[in-house]
Structures are given as structure tokens and as C-alpha cells.
């Protein structure tokens, strides 16, 4: 019997605003001391009023547009009531039946070239809760409210994913999109992008939805992939042995790489949602919406397709160059400055500039090696002003010094030596210094030619025109 998995993902996306959603406390508390970004509003003191952060709506609208969702002109906040020590008010301000956006989808390219369209069932704004941690020594819990009130978008997909790899690919594309449109840092390790997975299996060809389990606390793409794979295998084993799958909530334990059963939680009806009376409806006027959407950039998959079309790049290049927005902007700016074959720019970027980015940890936008300078270097190599190796070493030199390639070539005398007399003098010197090699060569070891060329280049600090050097060597030796 063949089984297939049915997977839906529930994600929480931390927006990268400066301040929290309903108060002016700093939103980012990474590495901050506990309870140092807090105020009466986010700690649930009596008599305070929440006031909505404008940027949260703007970032939410951008994300909704990027997900092709229907943006709502009016939406409401609601109270989701439950008691937990990390929730000082006893309720979370969230959105329920009238959220910021409805519907939407994300197209996710798969390894085999197909596209999986993942529909969005729920997308809304809400506030985050605090953090609690157990102190095993004293048997108590300690609570840090820094994260209370940090703005989140909750986004829930339909049961559209069919394997652990598809789920991982969805998260990879979502992370790319979030960074691309600038609404979240989307760092899973830092909790900017959190994911719970609903998993069930069924016989291939069936359309029913079997009982699902919910996997919580999967904090990296690889954890999502492994945890879902294991849960799919467990469920299939269960069915094959005549057992049944129960609606458990499972927690992923990163240390042991296993899933553990959690307590069954309160059902949704128990949250007793009602309209948040302390906040006004969110009115998104057409004028404001248009202004927000003006800042929506071309999306990654659209840009990837355009790179293939417009610049005749192979899919592979287009994919790599659009992995990140500033890199793709950098590529286009270089192509414009260069004016020649875009594939040539792509080669320089993928071979050398990407390595430089990896080594320095910079983004393309931060490089002192600007698109104009890169275009200059490629043109100097094309024109034979410098040879390819010198061109490559120029990348580093320009990026470290911030000086223009032309300036460095001039100052360091890097221009290629094509002058026959200069090269001939060095060729004669090399041959005079290497009688043994000359003899071997004359006895038929012609493979030594490369070594001779290398010696000439070495003496000329790599500046010699290698083809000329080879021609002169051959003339002298034969």
C-alpha cells in the first residue's frame, strides 16, 4: 500500500519593527537582560490602553500582498482568553473572524522543477507572549516579559504539502520572501520565524483527511524536515499494524531528535474570543494602501523568471542570483554598468563575489566593491588591460581599500605587460637559469611548457600576457 503525507504549517513571523505592537517598548530584545524592554502596557497593568503601531499594519499589508491575499479595508482585533504565566493580561490581543487579510498562496518550486501552490487559510496580526523557563534547582519558574507585545503575523497554510521536503521548501521560500520584502529578519534560530506542523497520512489517491497530529517547537528548517519525516513514518507504521493515529500534540526534542507527546490543550472554543474593546478597528484607506504597496518590490520568483528571459541566464544562475534581494539588485546594477554579456557578469558574481560575501559576512549592498567597480574590472580584463588573475585579485583590493580599480592598477603597476622585448628578456633569463628543464624539454618532455610559462609569470608578478610568453618560449626552445 502506498501512503502519502498531508501537511499544513502554522507559522509565526516576528515583524522587524523598532517598537512593539501596542506600546513603545523596543521590539528586539535579542541579548537583552530579562525584563528590560517592558512597560505598564505590555506587562498588563490595570488601566492602560494599547495603541497600534502603524508600521505593523504596513508590514502586514506588504506580506499579505506578497502572498496574493485579499487585503481587508477594515479589520478588528479580538481577545483570545487563556491563562498562562507568560501572558500577563490573561488574554492575547489577536485577530479572529475579521483579520487583516484573507486567502492567498505561495508558489513553491520543488527539486523536480514542479511548483507546489500552497494556499493560505489564515493570516492575521497579533502580539507575542513572554518567555518562561524552569529553574530545575529550586523547582520554580522564572518569567521574562521582554517578548510580550512583540508584533507577529500568524500565517496558517492549507493541508497542501505532501512531503517533509515540500514543507522544508515552503519554509525556505517563505524565509526568502520575508527578508526580500523586508518585513522580518526571519531567523529561525532566533525565533523570528516559528513553525508548528500538522501532519497526517492517507493512502495515495484518497481525498479524505485522516486524524492529524501537531508538531510543536521545530526551530530550524532541518528540524522541520526530520521531525515531519519521523512522524510520517510513525503514522504509516501505526496504520500498517492495524492501529490508529490519535490527535496528539507532539513536541520536537532537538537534543534527542525525537518527538514527545504533550498534554492535550484547550480546544479553540475555550478561548472565548471577543472584540478587543480597547482598540479601534483598523481602517486601511485606499490612499494609505496604495502608498504601502508602492514599496512592494518585484518578488523573488518573478525576478528569477525575468533574469532567465531578459538576460538569457541559465535557471541555475537565476536561482542563485535571486536567492537574496540585494544580490539580485547588485547583479542588475553591474549588468547595466558593464553593458556586455550578462552571463559574464553572472560568472564573476557566482565564482568570486559570492565567495567574498561568504567570507566577509557582508551583503551585496554593503560591499565597497560597487557594481560600477566590478563592471570596471570585468572590462579591464575584457580589454586585456589586466589578465584574469590580476582581475580577480583586484576584487579583494577594491573591496578592502574602497579605491577604484583604475587607481589600484595605476598605483601598483598591475597593467598587463604585452611588450615583446620586456617578456623576451624574462624568457631568456628563465631559460638560462633552468638548463636541466631545457634539456628535458628538448628530449621530448613538452609538458614542461606550462612550468616555463609559470616561471615567467612568477618573475613578472603575474602581469605578463601569458599567450605572448608562451609564443616566445616556444620560439626560443624550438
Amino acid at each position: 500500500m502506498d501512503y502519502e503525507a498531508v501537511i499544513g504549517l502554522e507559522t509565526h513571523i516576528q515583524l522587524n519593527t523598532e517598537s512593539k505592537i501596542f506600546c513603545a517598548c523596543k521590539a528586539d530584545s535579542w541579548n537583552a537582560e530579562p525584563n528590560t524592554n517592558i512597560c505598564p502596557v505590555c506587562t498588563g497593568m490595570p488601566g492602560v490602553l494599547p495603541v497600534l503601531n502603524r508600521r505593523v499594519v504596513e508590514k502586514g499589508v506588504l506580506l499579505a500582498a506578497a502572498m496574493h491575499a485579499e487585503i481587508q479595508p477594515v479589520s478588528y482585533f479580538d481577545r483570545k482568553n487563556y491563562f498562562y504565566p507568560d501572558l500577563p493580561k490573561g488574554y492575547q490581543i489577536s485577530q479572529y473572524d475579521r483579520p487583516l487579510a484573507k486567502g492567498g498562496y505561495l508558489d513553491v518550486p520543488q527539486a523536480d522543477g514542479s511548483i507546489r501552490r500552497v494556499t493560505i487559510w489564515k493570516m492575521h496580526m497579533e502580539e507575542d507572549a513572554g518567555k518562561t523557563k524552569n529553574d530545575p534547582l529550586t523547582g520554580t519558574r522564572l518569567i521574562d516579559f521582554n517578548r510580550c507585545g512583540v508584533p507577529l503575523i500568524e500565517m496558517v497554510t492549507g493541508p497542501d504539502l505532501r512531503s517533509a521536503d515540500e514543507a522544508a521548501n515552503y519554509l525556505i521560500r517563505l524565509r526568502q520572501l520575508l527578508r526580500w520584502i523586508g518585513v522580518s529578519e526571519a531567523d529561525m534560530e532566533k525565533g523570528h520565524l516559528r513553525c508548528d506542523a500538522n501532519v497526517s497520512v492517507r493512502q495515495k489517491g484518497e481525498t479524505i483527511l485522516n486524524t492529524k497530529t501537531e508538531i510543536k517547537n521545530v526551530n530550524s528548517i532541518e528540524a522541520v524536515r526530520t521531525a515531519i519525516t519521523k512522524e510520517i513514518e510513525r503514522q504509516i507504521r501505526e496504520y500498517q499494524s492495524g492501529g490508529k493515529v490519535e490527535a496528539w500534540t507532539l513536541e520536537w526534542d532537538e537534543d534527542t531528535q525525537t518527538l514527545k507527546k504533550m498534554r492535550s490543550k484547550e480546544t479553540e472554543a475555550d478561548y472565548r474570543y471577543f472584540r478587543e474593546p480597547d482598540l479601534l478597528p483598523v481602517y486601511l484607506t485606499d490612499e494609505w494602501k496604495v502608498k504601502i504597496l508602492e514599496t512592494l518590490p518585484e518578488l523573488p520568483l518573478e525576478r528569477r523568471a525575468r533574469f532567465v528571459q531578459e538576460y538569457k541566464l541559465p535557471e541555475y544562475d537565476a536561482e542563485l542570483l535571486t536567492s537574496e534581494r540585494s544580490l539580485s539588485d547588485y547583479f542588475e546594477a553591474t549588468v547595466r554598468a558593464y553593458g556586455g554579456d550578462p552571463k559574464r557578469v553572472s560568472n564573476w558574481l557566482m565564482n568570486d563575489v559570492l565567495r567574498m560575501l561568504n567570507e566577509t559576512g557582508q551583503t551585496a549592498a554593503e560591499l565597497a566593491l560597487t557594481p560600477t567597480y566590478l563592471a570596471d574590472i570585468i572590462r579591464f580584463v575584457d580589454a586585456g588591460t589586466v589578465n584574469a588573475n590580476t582581475g580577480k585579485s583586484l576584487l579583494q583590493k577594491v573591496n578592502v581599500s574602497g579605491k577604484s580599480p583604475a587607481e589600484i592598477i595605476q598605483a601598483e603597476g598591475l597593467a598587463k605587460v604585452s611588450d615583446d622585448d620586456a617578456i623576451r628578456a624574462v624568457v631568456e633569463q628563465v631559460l638560462a637559469e633552468s638548463p636541466k628543464e631545457v634539456e628535458s624539454y628538448k628530449n621530448g618532455k613538452t609538458g614542461l611548457m606550462g612550468w616555463f610559462v609559470g616561471q615567467v609569470m612568477k618573475k613578472m608578478q603575474g602581469k605578463a600576457d601569458a599567450q605572448k610568453a608562451r609564443a616566445l618560449l616556444e620560439k626560443h626552445l624550438n
Partner: protein
């Protein structure tokens, strides 16, 4: 239709309230009366009237995204019965 005692107990549990038998009976009556009144309102046809979420209209009163200094931690922690390492200290939570 009156609420059952079990329903009253469930609502009390969600609100983390401990009720005496006498209170349960009294709240059952009071809550039932409130629900009856709401049921009466629900008989009205309001399909042509837009729902009112707020009596203020037109403006959401939004705040610019500008962080301001936080409350001193001591000011917050002094409200707590116990604290440790700058954090609230509470009994363990049973899951």
C-alpha cells in the same frame, strides 16, 4: 433555557474561579438570565445593519514606530510577590 451546573463549572474553571455550591446556583441563575436577554436580542433581524465594533469612526489612532525608554525593571518587579535574577518567580506549572 437555563445553563446546566456543569456549564457554570466549566466557565468558572476557564476563569480560574473557585465557586461554592451556593455561588454556582446563584451564578447559574444570573448567567441564564443574561443569556435569555441576549437570545431575545438575537431574534431581531439585523441583517441589513453593519455591525458596530466601535462608536468612534474613521480613524484607527495609530502610533509611529518609535521606541521609547522602558520602565525601570525594579518598578515592575516590586509588584511581584517573588523575583529572582530580574525575573518573576512563580511556582512550577503543571503541564
Amino acid at each position: 433555557m437555563p445553563l446546566t451546573l456543569q456549564e457554570v463549572e466549566h466557565i468558572a474553571k476557564l476563569a480560574r474561579l473557585e465557586l461554592t455550591e451556593e455561588e454556582k446556583a446563584r451564578y447559574r441563575e444570573q448567567l441564564s438570565a443574561i443569556l435569555d436577554y441576549v437570545a431575545q436580542l438575537q431574534r431581531l433581524d439585523t441583517s441589513s445593519i453593519p455591525p458596530t465594533a466601535s462608536i468612534f469612526s474613521g480613524d484607527s489612532h495609530l502610533r509611529p514606530d518609535e521606541p521609547r525608554p522602558a520602565l525601570p525593571r525594579e518598578a515592575l518587579l516590586k509588584n511581584a510577590p517573588e523575583h529572582e535574577q530580574g525575573q518573576f518567580k512563580i511556582p512550577p506549572v503543571f503541564e
